[in-house]
Symmetry: C2
Subunit: 220 residues, 2 copies
């Protein structure tokens, strides 16, 4: 058996609340510091001698798994669809982290947009997801000029940066607070278990054990 520890990469933030019961069902108990939001630690031991957890940015989980820095990961389908990763296999939909990627725009401009029946051939959009956005509009024959932002997309329309935004929407309260309304859902999002293909080849027993545990832990 390979004595190098398996590394499980999980995203910081909101998703951890949904992930903790799933860890329990998988028999994974992280060290206390893991749930301490003030801890600056990045790597955590677990009750499993051969499994450590790293907590990284949501957009970095798949990068770690794809480049051999982690063997298993939990990652939103938004990141998987935005980036092209080789050497990643996605065996389990974890049925957590549900939200949607949507187009939104200022409430007061929606009526105007409807009246203007002429189909636009070009649209300017502020988003964290330029690749997904361009693909979505290209399929409708529309060229999307994307302004890549890392946050605060919802402020863009009021500043004239772009009339439309494409962003993750959960309850819709952030949009509402900024005078925006969802006008189209691009894709439904949930978190997936991703695994490194090379690790699956070199350590099949351990890897398949964890895949099975996560599969069984998914709420029916």
């Amino acid at each position: 058996m390979n004595t190098e520890k398996l590394i499980l990469a999980v995203p910081k933030g909101r998703i951890l609340e949904e992930l903790m019961p799933m860890f329990e069902a998988c028999g994974i108990i992280p060290e206390d510091a893991f749930t301490d939001s003030k801890s600056r630690k990045l790597r955590f031991s677990t009750n499993n001698e051969n499994l450590d957890i790293i907590r990284v940015r949501a957009f970095d989980v798949a990068t770690f798994v794809a480049h051999g820095g982690a063997h298993i990961g939990v990652v939103g389908s938004d990141a998987l669809e935005e980036f092209d990763y080789d050497d990643i296999y996605t065996p389990v939909d974890l049925n957590i982290g549900h939200c949607r990627l949507s187009v939104a725009m200022p409430v007061e401009e929606i009526e105007d947009e409807r009246k203007n029946k002429t189909r636009r051939s070009h649209i300017r959009i502020a988003t964290k997801y330029p690749n997904l956005t361009r693909r979505h509009y290209a399929a409708q024959g529309i060229q999307a000029e994307c302004i890549k932002l890392n946050g605060a997309m919802e402020i863009a329309p009021s500043l004239g940066l772009a009339r439309h935004i494409v962003d993750l929407v959960s309850t819709g309260s952030t949009l509402k607070a900024n005078g925006l309304k969802e006008v189209e859902t691009i894709v439904e999002i949930s978190s997936k278990l991703v695994v490194s293909r090379p690790a699956l080849k070199t350590r099949p027993d351990e890897m398949n054990m964890w895949i099975e545990r996560f599969r069984n832990a998914v709420k029916k």
Copy 2:
């Protein structure tokens, strides 16, 4: 006079502490919510009727200014050098936010690296700054294969993701806590005042007033 408010974009986080005394010297008093780290507001009024402040991600400040979403911005030279922005003018070095972009690697591998005198032609690096990094190494005839991470670069070497990282270094304590040591400084960083070139043309009086105020507020 143009009645549309001028928008000043500033980065979230650490830099705000250094920026507040500078605002005071410029005669800018933001509304109270601005210094409340719990506030979810993105846009703030000031004592100046014609000036609002937006607080966005450090990497997004220049994007807002470059695309007309903000007229003035405070941005680290790291972001300016990493991205290619048109329509941005950088009139004042604010002499705050000092740090450096450096190469770091595991302490125990430095001696090994020194012994190995053969010049490498290829190097793998985890960084938030792939463009800056590639340019730096290309000038030395080395091809840098960059793995783009958004955070937690310092954990990459211990996980075998990359032997070297290129990251911002201030005190060096984060590197030390992760068993890494700085081996080369790529560039010294400080925050700059950036302004929109189109705004400078269409609203020269206001824009030049603010540039002058910030210039005078810089600590000698």
